[in-house]
């Protein structure tokens, strides 16, 4: 980064954004910054066209059959809430996993506390992976959906989604995929993987701004509206517009966010998913291998980096993770994320529920020098005696 900060928190949000993305976003917003799909003047129609092109681009990106079912939301959490509120009814059952983010756990828990649904969680093994058979065993006659995080935001492990998708299809249960940590670094194919819906966020590996994400819905999945309002069409009808994408979108769209997201996806496609992922995993490998001989450092689920995204979570023996993060920040200009990462049950699985951990997530713009400096920093203070 230009100010000297070594930013290793790309799992929270990618930073910096590619300059070309920011420039294109602002340029197009200067040209088109009116209410999309709400007026009949040319500029409003052009803005509406830009939104529709973004839907088409995202449908291609996720291997979705119908661009009109690309629904914009604020982020992946918002998109997942759209799905849960639009699908779940009293008496329903849901299967999720221990690796879920609170974007899944909290809605499900809230629904259960209200007496609406029940849910079961498939456990992860000691390496951070879900066994698809554990999901199959939890499916019941009233299971309304299965929801799975593609890549753990704590452990970085990529789950076997195509296998889980086949199982869900065999049981006739929709599968919703949370791609918050995967979209932009590894491919997602909605049709091949039998996905009923894909929740994504724009501000992580898709290089868009914060505040934009979405839900890509398969035509076979009938999600009801859970929020209502203006859609720009059929205004005499006091019932909310039933057709997609308007069914799940109410109010003026985040045009700036959509333009930025679209520019970000374009950038990812230009660079290539394989190139991006390979670069990030080379950094991960260097980081993991550099830390391994140090001792005093406990890494979680990093023995093998196969089927991983670039997330490495660790603790320094004898130190509180918050203090490790503070030292890295103030003494070494390194930004890493400490705590529970909004995924408490993942931390429970690896034994860090009580104290949390330090998460490093290199991104496409990190260098080997960044990684070496992080290794040197951890080496310099991890081995000395601590009070705790």
């Amino acid at each position: 980064m230009t100010d000297g900060l070594i930013y290793l928190d790309n799992a929270a949000t990618s930073c910096p954004k590619p300059p070309a993305v920011l420039e294109q976003m602002l340029q197009r917003y200067r040209e088109l910054g009116v209410s999309p799909g709400r007026g009949s003047y040319d500029r409003a129609l052009q803005a509406g066209d830009a939104v529709e092109r973004a839907r088409e681009q995202l449908a291609r990106f996720f291997g979705a059959p119908d661009p009109t079912r690309v629904v914009f939301a604020a982020n992946a959490t918002d998109a997942l809430n759209l799905a849960f509120h639009g699908l779940l009814r009293p008496g329903d059952h849901v299967v999720a996993t221990q690796l879920e983010h609170n974007s899944v756990l909290r809605p499900l828990h809230t629904f259960r506390e209200r007496g609406w649904i029940k849910y079961d969680l498939a456990p992860c093994d000691g390496h951070g992976f879900i066994d698809p058979d554990d999901i199959a065993r939890r499916i019941q006659p009233n299971t309304r959906l299965v929801v799975v995080s593609h890549a753990s935001n704590v452990l970085g492990t990529i789950q076997p989604i195509s296998v889980i998708g086949r199982i869900c299809t065999e049981h006739g249960v929709p599968l919703i995929l949370d791609t918050a940590q995967s979209a932009g670094t590894i491919p997602v194919d909605m049709v091949d993987w039998h996905l009923s819906a894909v929740a994504f966020t724009g501000h992580k590996a898709l290089f868009g701004p914060t505040g934009i994400g979405g839900l890509v819905v398969h035509p076979d999945l009938d999600i009801q509206a859970s929020r209502f309002g203006g859609t720009g069409i059929d205004s005499r009808n006091l019932m909310h517009t039933p057709t997609f994408p308007h069914r799940l979108e109410a109010g003026t769209l985040n045009l700036l966010g959509i333009l930025g997201l679209s520019a970000g996806v374009e950038y990812v496609l230009e660079q290539g998913l394989e190139t991006i992922h390979a670069h990030e995993m080379r950094l991960m490998q260097r980081f993991r291998d550099g830390l391994a001989p140090l001792g005093h450092i406990e890494m979680y689920c990093a023995e093998s980096l196969a089927d991983h995204v670039a997330v490495l979570t660790l603790n320094v023996n004898g130190m509180n993770p918050e203090d490790v993060g503070a030292i890295l920040d103030a003494d070494f200009d390194i930004a890493a994320r400490v705590g529970l990462h909004c995924a408490p049950l993942t931390h429970q699985a690896v034994g860090t529920y009580n104290r949390g951990a330090v998460r490093f997530s290199p991104g496409y713009f990190n260098t080997t020098d960044d990684i070496d400096r992080a290794i040197e920093a951890l080496a310099s203070f991890s081995a000395r005696p601590h009070h705790t």
């Binding site: 509180n320 920040d329 994320r337 705590g339 009070h387 705790t388």
Partner: protein, 120 residues
């Protein structure tokens, strides 16, 4: 102006523990942080450091605790990492090693500042 809600009302999930310290009844959260920074006294800090395993607070400990408190009451929040480093003229590595429990559970707690609301 309406009274600000107490920290106990704002953060009920942290739980509360009452104990008598330096002759006064004081409210702590379950991690041992003061509920109210104004309840803190130097005598209390001295007792707490002994409970942590150190015989006493040295001048450098007091320098850190006073910086925390002065900053908190002036700015209305705890110092950010770089402010802490600049204000104490100590690297955070050194500061962490000075206090049993380190920076957050050691220094900040002993200074009587509230439990930070990080991602826990």
């Amino acid at each position: 102006m309406p009274d600000e809600p107490s920290r106990a009302a704002q953060y009920p999930e942290l739980g509360r523990v009452t104990r008598v310290l330096a002759g006064r009844e004081v409210l702590f959260d379950q991690e041992g942080f003061f509920w109210e920074a104004k309840d803190w006294t130097e005598d209390m800090a001295t007792i707490l450091i002994r409970e942590s395993g150190l015989a006493d607070l040295t001048e450098i400990h007091w320098k850190v605790l006073r910086f925390f408190r002065e900053y908190y009451f002036y700015h209305g929040r705890a110092p950010m990492n770089r402010h802490l480093k600049d204000g104490t003229k100590l690297s955070l590595q050194v500061l962490e090693s000075l206090f049993p429990g380190g920076i957050r559970l050691g220094a900040r707690r002993l200074a009587g500042l509230p439990n930070p609301k990080s991602c826990f």
